[in-house]
C-alpha cells in the first residue's frame, strides 16, 4: 500500500496540517530545514542509519550516517559563523555533486543564512550575474572551479570569502580564499541552530526567463511542509527505501528532493557524481539496490537510445517506484519504462518558483502515458483563458496553467524584483507560464511554454541571455536564439547570427562561437547549431521576429507576416 493510499480520499480530506503533524511542527514554532534534515532524524533513533552514500566518477565511495550529517553540517555552520556569516547572508554552493554540497547546504541553513546553490558548469559570466544579483557574501567551491571565481573577483567586492573544500596545500591561497576540509575538520557536537521561523528565508534559486537577467527565487523554511509531504505521497519515500535522485542540487529538483525531501524523510539516498553512461547508471542501481528513482526525461530518453541489451547485464529488480521531472515525459518513455523496468516513470510537474510538486501522477492512480497527472492534494490548479484569466468551464480547452496561491513552498519573492514577482499573479491565480488542457477525467495535458524560454534537458535557458552572450563575440553583429526540437533533450538552443563586416561564415567560426558561449554561460546555453544568415526577420520597428524562426524550426505555420520588414 502506498503512502498516499487513495488519491481521491486525500483530496477530499486534505489539510497541510497533516504534514505539520507528521513533522511535529506547530505554527509559530521554530522551523529549521537543517535541523529537520539531520538532528531530528537522529532523535528519531536513526543516527547510525546511512543518510548519504556517495560515489565518485572513479568509483571512490563515502558513506555518511545521519549522525555524520548532523555533525558535519554543524561543523560547516560553525566555520561559516567564524567567518562572520550572518543570518540571511547569501552563501553560494558552487560544487559538483560531492558530499560537501549536500551537507554544506544544511550547514548554511542551520545558521539562518540563505543557501544559493548554483550549477557547477556555469561559466564565469553566468556565475557573476547570479552572485552580483544576490550580493553573495561567501562561495563554497572546489579548486577546479576556483579559476572562474578568480576571473570575476574584482567585480565582486561584496564577496568576502571563497571557501575551497579540496584545497591543495602545495598552492598558495589567493585573495579572500580560505580552505576548509569537511572530513578532517573537528566535529561540532553541540551547536546552536539559528531559530528560523516559517517565513525565514532559506534558499535562493536562480531561474531564467525570456527577457532580462535570471531571477533569484526566494524560498522559506516553511517550504519543508510541502517538500516533506510530496516526498511521501508522490515519491512514496518509505523508511527502508534506497533513493536516487539524479538531479544536480544546483537546480531546484536536486535541492527540494535531492537534499530536503531525501533527508527530512530519513531515507538512505545514493548520489552518483559522474557523467551519464547507461552502463554506469544501471550498475549503480544494481550495486546499491535502488528502490526509488527520481530522474528526468532527457536521461530517460538517453537510456532508451542506449538500448535494451545493456539492461540485461544488470539486476534491476530492486526498483520499486520511478518518477520523472523537468519537462513533459512523452508517452513513449512511460510505455518503454513499464516494459523494461516493470513499472512506469510517473511524470511530476512543478518549477523553481513552486518549490515542490504541483501536478503529478501518483502510486496507485491510473496512469495516462503523456499526461502530467492531477493536482497534488491541497493544490487548486486549473487552466484559464489567457485573455480573461478565468477558468474554462469546458474540458479540453488549451489555456494557461493556473494555481491558487498559498501552498507552503510557494516562492515568496523574486530577489530585488517585486514588479516581476507581481506579474506572476493574475486575477488571484499564480501563473507558471505553461499551457495545457484538462481532460474529462481531470488529467492535465502539457502543451508548451507560454513564452520563449527554452527547456533543454529539463533546464530553462533564456534566449535573451544567449543572445547577449553572442553579441559579445567579436564576429557577431546580431543574433536571435530559438528552441530547436531534439529527441533526447526535447529542445536545444539554436542561434541565427549575422556577421560583422570582415568576418566570413565558416565551420571554424561556428565552433569558435559555440565554445565562446559555452564558456561564458554554460554547456546548456551553448547553441547546438548556428545558422549564419544575411538578415534576421524583423518588424518595421526593428524587433526581431523570433516566432518566425521558431515556426520554421518546428515545421509550424509562420502566421501573420504583415509586420515583417524584410518579407
Amino acid at each position: 500500500m502506498s503512502n498516499i493510499g487513495s488519491y481521491d480520499e486525500r483530496v477530499k480530506n486534505f489539510d497541510w496540517a497533516i504534514s505539520e503533524k507528521e513533522l511535529e511542527y506547530k505554527p509559530g514554532n521554530v522551523i529549521n530545514i537543517g535541523w529537520y534534515c539531520s538532528d531530528r532524524i537522529c532523535q528519531m533513533g536513526k543516527a547510525d542509519k546511512p543518510g548519504l552514500i556517495w560515489e565518485g566518477s572513479t568509483g571512490q565511495e563515502k558513506i555518511y550516517t545521519y549522525n555524520d550529517i548532523r555533525l558535519n553540517s554543524n561543523t560547516i555552520g560553525h566555520f561559516l559563523r567564524g567567518l562572520g556569516i550572518q543570518p540571511e547572508d547569501r552563501v553560494c554552493l558552487f560544487m559538483d555533486k560531492i558530499p560537501e554540497l549536500y551537507i554544506g547546504f544544511l550547514g548554511i541553513v542551520k545558521i539562518g543564512a540563505i543557501a544559493q546553490p548554483l550549477f557547477s558548469a556555469f561559466g564565469d559570466e553566468s556565475l557573476f550575474i547570479r552572485l552580483e544579483n544576490a550580493q553573495t557574501k561567501a562561495i563554497i567551491t572546489q579548486r577546479k572551479h576556483v579559476p572562474k571565481v578568480r576571473k570575476i573577483l574584482e567585480k565582486m567586492p561584496f564577496l568576502k570569502h571563497i571557501i575551497i573544500v579540496d584545497y591543495d596545500p602545495g598552492k598558495p591561497l589567493q585573495d579572500r580564499e580560505v580552505a576548509f576540509n569537511m572530513d578532517t575538520a573537528e566535529k561540532i557536537e553541540k551547536f546552536e541552530i539559528y531559530p528560523t521561523t516559517a517565513e525565514s528565508p532559506s534558499v535562493l534559486h536562480y531561474t531564467s526567463g525570456t527577457t532580462g537577467q535570471p531571477k533569484g527565487v526566494k524560498h522559506v523554511h516553511y517550504s519543508l511542509i510541502s517538500q516533506y509531504l510530496t516526498s511521501k505521497w508522490v515519491l512514496d519515500l518509505r523508511d527502508d527505501d534506497i533513493y536516487w535522485c539524479t538531479a544536480d542540487p544546483g537546480w531546484v529538483t536536486g535541492t527540494s528532493y535531492g537534499i530536503i525531501g531525501a533527508f527530512c524523510t530519513g531515507v538512505t539516498q545514493c548520489v552518483l557524481d559522474a557523467g551519464f553512461s547507461a552502463d554506469n547508471w544501471y550498475r549503480f542501481i544494481e550495486k546499491h539496490k535502488i528502490t526509488m528513482w527520481y530522474s528526468a526525461p532527457t536521461a530517460i530518453r538517453s537510456l532508451m537510445k542506449a538500448g535494451e541489451e545493456v539492461i540485461k547485464k544488470y539486476n534491476l529488480s530492486s526498483l520499486r517506484h520511478l518518477a520523472s521531472v523537468g519537462e513533459p515525459l512523452n508517452s513513449e518513455a512511460v510505455i518503454w519504462s513499464e516494459r523494461v523496468f516493470g513499472k512506469p516513470f510517473l511524470d511530476t510537474y512543478w518549477q523553481t518558483e513552486t518549490g515542490s510538486i504541483m501536478i503529478s501522477n501518483y502510486p496507485g492512480m491510473k496512469i495516462k502515458p503523456g499526461s502530467m497527472g492531477k493536482p497534488f492534494p491541497g493544490i487548486t490548479a486549473t487552466v484559464i483563458d489567457p485573455e480573461k484569466y478565468e477558468p474554462f468551464k469546458e474540458t479540453g480547452k488549451i489555456g494557461l496553467i493556473a494555481i491558487k496561491p498559498g501552498w507552503p513552498s510557494m516562492m515568496r519573492m523574486y530577489w530585488n524584483n517585486e514588479s516581476t514577482y507581481k506579474k506572476k499573479f493574475q486575477n488571484g491565480w499564480y501563473l507558471p507560464g505553461d499551457r495545457s488542457s484538462i481532460d474529462s477525467e481531470g488529467y492535465f495535458w502539457f502543451v508548451g511554454r507560454d513564452d520563449d524560454v527554452i527547456n533543454t534537458g529539463g533546464h530553462l535557458v533564456s534566449p535573451f541571455e544567449v543572445e547577449s552572450a553572442l553579441l559579445e563575440h567579436p564576429a557577431v553583429a546580431e543574433s536571435a536564439v530559438v528552441a530547436k526540437p531534439d529527441f533526447v533533450n526535447m529542445e536545444v538552443v539554436k542561434a541565427f547570427v549575422t556577421l560583422k563586416p570582415g568576418y566570413t561564415a565558416s565551420k571554424d567560426l561556428d565552433l569558435d562561437i559555440m565554445n565562446f558561449v559555452r564558456k561564458k554561460l554554460s554547456p546548456l546555453a551553448m547553441p547546438q547549431e548556428i545558422e549564419f544568415i544575411d538578415l534576421l526577420p524583423k518588424t518595421r520597428s526593428g524587433k526581431i521576429m523570433r516566432r518566425i524562426l521558431h515556426a520554421k524550426e518546428w515545421g509550424e505555420e509562420i502566421g501573420d507576416t504583415s509586420t515583417l520588414e524584410n518579407d
Binding site: 559522474a274 551519464f276 565551420k507 565552433l511
Partner: protein, 81 residues
Amino acid sequence: MEEMKDVIKDYVIKEYVEDDTEITYDTPLISGGIVDSFSMVSLKRFLENKYKISIPDDKATPEAFDSVNKIIALVKEYVKY
C-alpha cells in the same frame, strides 16, 4: 596517429579543463564528468572540422567519446587517408 592523440588531448585540456587536472589518453572524459553531454557537440564539431569528416549522430555516443583513445578509434573509422 601519435600526433592526432596529442592534438585531441590538447584540445580537450584547452577547452574543457579549468584547472590542472591531469588528462591522459585513457582518462574518462564523459563518465568522468570532464565533458558533459551538451559540450560533446562542440567536441564532435571540432573533430569533424579538424579531420574533415562527418560523424553520424548515432555513432557520437557518450561511450565513443569517453577517452582520447576511444575518440581516436572513432575518428579512424571516418578519416580518409
